[in-house]
Amino acid sequence: MCGIVGLYFKSAALEQQLGRMLAAMLVQMTERGPDSAGVAVYRRPVGAEASKITLQSGDDANWDDIHARIRAALAPEATLEPLANHAVLTLHGDGAQAADWLEANLPGVNITSIGRAIEIYKEKGRPDEVIARFKLEEMAGSHALGHTRMATESAVTTEHSHPFSTGLDLCLVHNGSLSNHNRLREKLRAEGIRFRTDNDSEVAAGYLTWRLSQGATLKEAMQSAIADLDGFYTFAIGARDGFAVMRDPIACKPAILAETEHWVAMSSEYRAIAQLPGSKHAAIWEPQPARIYSWERAA
């Protein structure tokens, strides 16, 4: 069992409230996932010429030293903003290329997200602890996803926690379990997709990364996932300008969508949505099996 929440603003009016509203939702999903929690927050977008990379390391990480090494060898203009054992790196140029350098030269430092707006923070522990640690309630932004994990098929570590990055400004959270993830992981590895864990949800993320790298749109990638992923899932997928929700054809795993004139929210259960201002008058419905629901802000 796991819990998923997603919140997307239709206009900028509520942006200052994003972190507080998402935190209230995430706490409601504690019983569904007390092992670890994570959030992907879309905020403070940088321009097309720049990239943002979220780094994660052990609790004893020396961020000043890491910053100095990045400035000396990779990008002299880079800024680094530590937040507990994560840090957001901002630099000019291509994020994926920079990530290659970081992975090769900074052992012990993991990359949780790459893009222009996305930041991913995730950690072991109860949702309220994770929220406090990363000061989620203070974060403003346009949209965000959150996940609470009850581990069923692989270890409880930071790296096994959700959300999983699936590409530039893309991420995935999952409630369910996949049964063909081992074979699919081998196939994707042969295609050049890298995996850090034995987690099934990371394979779903890697699958989307692979399809997108072949030129598929996000919707096309999700559509083909219905055929290629075997198992139970409710997915929420974050993108730079929006988010999407999809359930498997059997639809055992719960999902609720709600919409007002100001926001669209998604959760495993209504009680998370009940925390939001205006929820009493929201349109509320259950997403149909194997149907893609997506929202996108006009660029």
């Binding site: 209504y270 509320i284 099996p289």
Partner: protein, 242 residues
Amino acid sequence: MRPNHGGESARRQNGEALRFDLKDSPVRELNRALHERGAEGRSIRVANPGGKHNVAVGARFRGEVFIDGHVGYYCAGMNQNAAIVVNGNAGPGLAENMMSGQVRVKGDASQYGGATAHGGLLVIEGNAAARCGISMKGADIVVGGSIGHLSAFMAQSGRLVVCGDAGDALGDSIYEARIYLRGKAAGLGADCIEKPMEASHREELAYLLDQAELGGMKAGDFRRFGSARQLYHFQIDHLGAY
């Protein structure tokens, strides 16, 4: 006996309504009152359910419970005797294993509503999601809207009335429950077939529609589905259908 709900019976209650505000008090306090017979003769009003789980589970008393808002998992499970109204939507497992009484949801219900229910009447005025009435064992379920896939799976007895459409695999491996469908089924499950509407079927359907108080529904607009009784005993020729 026609269960009471709404304002009609408020006049008939002795004493004032018992009130529970789930914003402040735990669900267990409400349920304890429903388990004990002491509350009988009074109505119970529940405010701010906020999608909480297990609201009004295991009720045993003869009386009304009015829940003003949306509820989470397993609302009204194992109900006996009580007439429970949810003025909102219900999460998964609504009225699971109900024994008697009436449960009415004014909005939509999530998956496996009325699962394994033995008796009583479950009315969902909106839509019901997947697996509605799965393994039902004698209850009556009336849905004002449409139902999701795999509804009435292995349903043993009782009646499932659907005023809208049904999802795929309706009545898969059904035993002796009867399905009345006004709209279309996306597909029938294994061993589920359409059966003729006899006068006795129209009569029982008219009674159920009247009980459900949905209004504007005519028994003549419905079709009946039930078991072809080909999967009762194992036959090697049917292996693919199991």
